[in-house]
Amino acid sequence: MQTTPAQRSSLLRIRFARPFHYFILVAAAFFPFLSASAQSSALTASRNLRQLVTESHTVIQGSVTSVVVQPHAQWHNLMTVVVTLQVEDALRGTPGSTYTFAQAVIDRRDLQQKMGYRAGQHLLLILLKPNVYGLSSPAGMEQGRFTISSAKDGKSFVANSIGNAGLFRGLDADLTSSGLRLPAAAQELVAQPKPGPIPLDQLKSLIRTISAGSTVP
């Protein structure tokens, strides 16, 4: 799956009168793109963290306790992966001590692999509100699904399936326009994003800040 630049208007393009035309993409943190997602080779538009959290209904940190493939109750020709987590921390919504959601499976390979969910996984999930058919998914698909890992020093880190690319694009300006302030612990994270996993506590701090400034749908 692939994602494409969502809003090219935010790109500053400068044309040089030279043998080549160079498109200078100012502040890569603002680059919008489309990326491949785990759902059935799906293509998704890139969203930053504020956008993902704002459209979400529930944000939880927890351990996957079960992953079950089963037909949808209403559409018998739709298979779903039903994931249950033991909730360790609720950052948005009121999920209780356990949380279960059902995600549609379109691709046979996703079915075989249960969408990549496995019991014992330690995840942070930014989840959409279940629709009238009881179906949900992470916001931005793989963008809102973070795997938590621990370093040797015991600190926890998180990364989504595209190495957190685009997660902080335009975030500072977004928060400012929403009247929110970056938590001190996350300022460097947003100002100097690096590819790959980021500290869990800093991401959670950011999510809490964003969630506090938006209404749960």
Partner: protein, 485 residues
């Protein structure tokens, strides 16, 4: 900021443990999308369509895009059909690829869904697609092997009903293959017309330019045809992720494969005025569907236009094959544009599985084993570090690099669902010359890799007359001194 967290994951030992204990899905192999696994008639061979016949697709009769709530049509069916055909044509027009892709008309009737119908609801979509589990699919459905449906979700309501995030632009999916031939049999795709409805509320309804949208589905149709992801010019992505300014010149844009997992880093190809397919895209699709002699009118045989670079990537010992290293051959003439890649071990499975932890190791089943292994990919050890790159004739500089660590799951490049860093580096400046119709062999021994075994594994067995025991190799001289004569 803290140092990268999981350097321990970068240890091969951790990877081995992970592969043994967890069922890591290997989704895409750089080059082909799927490779035959054990039990198939094509182990180690990519899945492709039977191109001795045209690939017949059928299309939704509704509009491609429509304003919300039953509003005006933005892109009608006729224009949608043209867009789809043009996108497929990007692939079938390759002079060295034998691909005929034909629109056979409207969708076939499936259950309650009428012939030549408009897929308007999730139920319509699921009916035409058929049951993914394949228990009792309608024979006219995609999963029943009956048709290759291209569907338009004109206002995004089908995606909503399926609970998919509003960011999903669309997807392609392979439905069935022919187990007797190992050929792909049916596949489908659905396009989210909400990205073309002219509305961008920046929260739920997003918009793409037509160039971006077309580029996205050219990528998806590449998957439809059996092509996986490729990684070339990844330095642009790394600069973007690192919050650095970067330049995307025409050659960067042209050289970045349409099958790169992320699009939009550079301008849409149509905007930049470069071909929509990169050299890498053309080479790999042509390799999967080569035109053979005698070439039909307007086509060129693959053998007359391409040679091949083949070899194995090894650890520093020159013996142990290294999987998941991205090898790029860059033409010395315009290296940013004229480049083709392959991932070592792309024909080998990303997860061989194991039976040790099965409830009954002697009778392993998917239900009683924690990791039965990926059904795709060869188990032939000779393919573990193997790579093969189709190349137009010329002189090339080779490089070896890691697959970007963020390319996981559906974004993955190469056989591993979670990429590992290349275990070593490659001496720069190696050049090879490729001629049409010939295979050039070039093995790569990486520099600076970790030893194949650590000191605790490097052991010898000392037997009679002393009790059997394992000793570390470095203890051997001392131990031998103590052995009775």
């Amino acid at each position: 900021m803290n140092p990268p967290p999981h350097q321990f994951l970068r240890q091969a030992s951790a990877l081995v443990i992970a592969l043994l204990l967890f069922p890591l899905p290997a989704t895409f192999a750089g080059g082909p999308l799927y490779v035959g696994g054990p039990g198939t008639v094509i182990p180690g061979i990519p899945y492709v369509w039977d191109n001795s016949q045209p690939i017949i697709y059928r299309v939704d009769s509704g509009p491609l895009s429509q304003k919300p709530n039953g509003g005006p049509i933005v892109i009608d069916n006729a224009h949608g059909l043209t867009r789809v055909q043009n996108l497929f044509n990007s692939w079938s027009a390759l002079p060295t690829a034998k691909l005929t892709i034909t629109n056979a008309g409207g969708l076939l009737a499936v259950g309650s869904f009428p012939a030549n119908g408009d897929v308007k609801t999730a139920n319509d979509f699921l009916t035409v697609t058929g049951e993914v589990a394949g228990q009792n699919p309608d024979p006219n459905s995609c999963y029943g092997g009956g048709q290759n449906p291209i569907m338009f979700d004109s206002d995004g309501s089908i995606f909503d009903a399926l609970g998919l995030a509003p960011e999903v632009i669309g997807f392609a999916f392979v439905c069935t293959d022919n187990p007797a031939t190992g050929k792909l049999r049916t596949a489908g795709a659905i396009l989210n017309g909400r990205f073309q409805d002219g509305i961008n509320d920046n929260s739920y309804n997003f918009e793409l330019t037509s160039g971006q949208f077309d580029q996205a589905f050219t990528h998806e149709f590449g998957h439809f045809l059996g092509l996986g992801h490729s990684q070339i010019n990844v330095d642009i992505l790394l600069k973007a992720v690192n919050n650095q300014s970067f330049a995307c010149g025409p050659d960067d844009t042209a050289g970045m494969p349409i099958m790169f997992p992320i699009i939009g880093l550079c301008p849409a190809k149509v905007t930049a005025g470069v071909p929509i397919l990169a050299v890498d895209d053309a080479a790999w699709m042509s390799k999967l569907y080569p035109v053979v002699s005698p070439a039909p009118a307007g086509k060129t045989t693959f053998a007359s236009a391409y040679g091949s670079l083949s070899g194995t990537v090894y650890f520093s010992d020159g013996v142990t094959p290294a999987q998941d290293v991205n090898i790029i051959a860059r033409n010395t003439n315009n290296s940013r544009r004229n480049a083709v890649s392959a991932v070592s071990g792309y024909l080998f499975t990303g997860n061989p599985g194991q039976t040790t932890t099965c409830v009954n190791p002697a009778a392993p089943t998917a239900d009683t084993c924690s990791n039965p292994g990926d059904p795709f990919g060869s188990r032939d050890p000779a393919l573990l570090g193997h790579f093969e790159i189709p190349l137009p004739p010329g002189t090339y500089t080779l490089s070896a690099e890691s697959v970007y660590e963020g390319f996981t799951g559906g974004s993955s490049v190469g056989p591993l669902d979670i990429p590992i860093p290349a275990p070593g580096t490659m001496t720069s400046g190696s050049t090879v010359t490729v001629t049409a119709g010939a295979t050039t062999t070039f093995n790569i021994t990486l520099q600076g890799t970790q030893p194949r075994f650590d000191s605790f594994e490097s052991a010898v067995l000392l037997s009679s007359p002393v009790p059997v025991r394992w000793l570390r190799r470095e203890m051997l001289p001392e131990a031998e001194e103590r052995l009775p004569a």
